[in-house]
Symmetry: C2
Subunit: 198 residues, 2 copies
Amino acid sequence: MARALEFWFEFASTYSYPAAMRIQDACAQAAVPLIWRPILLGPIFAAQGISGSPFTLYPAKGANMWRDMERLCADAGLAFRKPGDFPRGSLLAARIAAHHADAPWIGDFVRAVYLANFAEDHDIGQPAVLIDILTGLALDPEPVLEAAQNPDTKAHLRQLTEQAQTKGLFGAPSFTIGDELFWGHDRLDQAVRWAALA
Amino acid sequence: MARALEFWFEFASTYSYPAAMRIQDACAQAAVPLIWRPILLGPIFAAQGISGSPFTLYPAKGANMWRDMERLCADAGLAFRKPGDFPRGSLLAARIAAHHADAPWIGDFVRAVYLANFAEDHDIGQPAVLIDILTGLALDPEPVLEAAQNPDTKAHLRQLTEQAQTKGLFGAPSFTIGDELFWGHDRLDQAVRWAALA
């Protein structure tokens, strides 16, 4: 009997992109229930004394990350264009995902936001970009954006980010099965196997 | 026609261990010439403003690394015991490897040092441990240790570490094929494929 896999992701996070693109299929194939857990990395990095991103704090690591993303996406058959701005503002998109984590369209929404950021170089911090995405999913954007700005939604996203830290999470993407924490796109398959065997 | 793969490793580095254990076989199977490049991470981290190891600087990341190593080694069929001290002094072992990088026994020596550190919890900073390893390889330890302390050998190891930084290296293990830099045990297979196709 498979256990649920919690997928912790940040829309500004580069390696969350390839993970987000294939996690729903990977879990479905292994009959593993998938729980979408949008978070903000800002507070998680800040708690470790990192302001901004480790990839801007450590330039050599950052330079290699962009080249690695190119190679990795090419191998995976994923479109990739280095965003004109990094990291991009992800707050509004994360609030939408937090409020609608159980919606039937959540997977499509998450993938569309990542494609906008990392394949199309659109500014996902702009409401207009998210309105386009929601419209493209045949949704009425107005109530979705309204619900995203609800105080309860804001508190919920903060709680998810705190819950992630309680589990020992320090970066994204991460995957948890109970208290077992897997970090990084490179551990996606191992995490899914772990959930399937649990 | 395959191009040579340079393998940059640090004997104190956790993820260099699984990479070191299988890189010679992986390169041989792909007919990729392998060049052993021992380095010291201390100066490379220091140049990035990190004193000690990122895994001690960022405790949540460090905690997950040990659990990840357990899972990763279990999956790979590698013995693993968390070293009683981390990071261990690797200077003498690195000097031996730098001076003898082309010796027919270099692969066996490198693997024996990693097993001592990460499977047997021996202090590889102690000459006695290295003497045991060399003796186990049917070598006379005395001239090997003497050559390791030669000023030319010390300078050679420093040059290798500087050369690594020139190539943009910021951590270990790393693999380069010409100027193409791959970082981390998770990129070993991709790097070998890259060398084989070049």
